[in-house]
């Protein structure tokens, strides 16, 4: 067997392990992605967004129609984001919270 063939077979047989991305990394990726999205325009209004968390739902039902209020990313001021970005398997359990869903549990 040639050198080349052996290494080709070795590489084909051994790929990456089935590791999961750390939840802190997922949280930071999401936060950064939203920041980048906001640079190019407002986020989709809460009224047009499905799967709101309890805090977003409270804002969404307020009798306030200003685009700024409906498009604000409320995760920025939420403890779940802070916990999610800094603690692996953070003890956060809100329904429809991305930072909860990023936890590998």
């Amino acid at each position: 067997m040639s050198d080349e063939l052996w290494f080709e077979q070795l590489a084909a047989a051994h790929e990456a392990d089935e590791v999961l991305a750390p939840s802190c990394l997922k949280s930071r990726l999401y936060s950064r992605l939203i920041v980048e999205q906001e640079k190019t325009g407002p986020l989709l209004s809460l009224k047009e967004t499905q799967g709101l968390c309890v805090y977003e739902k409270l804002i969404e039902i307020l009798p306030v129609e200003q685009a700024m209020v409906q498009s604000f990313q409320y995760c920025k001021v939420c403890h779940s984001r802070v916990a999610g970005e800094n603690i692996e398997n953070a003890p956060i359990y809100w329904a429809n919270c991305p930072y909860c869903e990023f936890q590998n549990r």
Partner: protein, 205 residues
């Protein structure tokens, strides 16, 4: 996963449904939802693709794990900036892994551009090691990552680029502004070092 407007799926991510099993039409719906700056779709985008991208980048950058998070973040930001070009002709997972592949190759290029390549006049000669015996080892899977981690960075990088990324010596040479012969010489030394470390590790167990 949520249903959005036309709905990119009706299943939640928590149900451990992988998007690549749902189909490219759904991928296109997800891409469009992210482009509308739908915050929940963006979360699903991260949730669905961070694991495969992280896994791929982590293996390719081993053992320099400190660079992995930054590179994964670069992949996602590039994906966001390029998402409007995604036409759904391939699964979104394949598309984003393509971006990751480019980022990894940029990293490899930076590593190999600054290394001292073996001189043609070197009187180095490869040992004739028993390759069949090595690959037949039942423990080979456990050893690959450990042995790669033991190699000097230039050796590890050129092996990963050539055999795991399946780039020819000519292509690598073009990327880093060297000759194919110079890359071949580096590859020969890297292969030899890999086999030596492999045998040393097996002998130690």
């Amino acid at each position: 996963m949520r249903g959005i407007g036309g709905g990119y799926a009706t299943l939640r991510v928590g149900a451990l449904i992988k998007l690549h099993t749902i189909g490219t039409e759904t991928d296109l719906d997800l891409a469009r939802a992210v482009l509308r700056r739908d915050r929940k779709a963006s979360a699903d985008f991260v949730q669905l693709y961070s694991d495969p991208v992280y896994r791929y980048v982590r293996f390719r950058l081993q053992p320099r794990y400190e660079s992995v998070d930054d590179l994964v973040q670069e992949v996602f930001l590039t994906a966001w900036k390029s998402l409007a070009k995604y036409e759904g002709t391939s699964p979104l997972r394949v598309w984003i892994l393509g971006i990751a592949r480019h980022k990894v190759q940029d990293h490899y290029r930076n590593v190999l551009r600054n290394v001292q390549f073996p001189d043609e006049a070197d009187d180095w000669k490869s040992d004739d090691l028993p390759l069949e015996t090595l690959i037949a080892s039942r423990q080979s899977g456990q050893h690959v990552q450990q042995v790669l981690a033991l190699l000097p960075e230039d050796y590890r990088t050129v092996l990963l680029w050539r055999y795991w990324e399946k780039r020819s010596a000519e292509m690598i040479a073009t990327e880093i502004g060297r000759t194919a012969k110079a890359v071949e010489r580096l590859l020969a030394r890297a292969r030899q070092k890999f086999r030596e470390e492999w045998l040393r590790k097996e002998a130690g167990q």
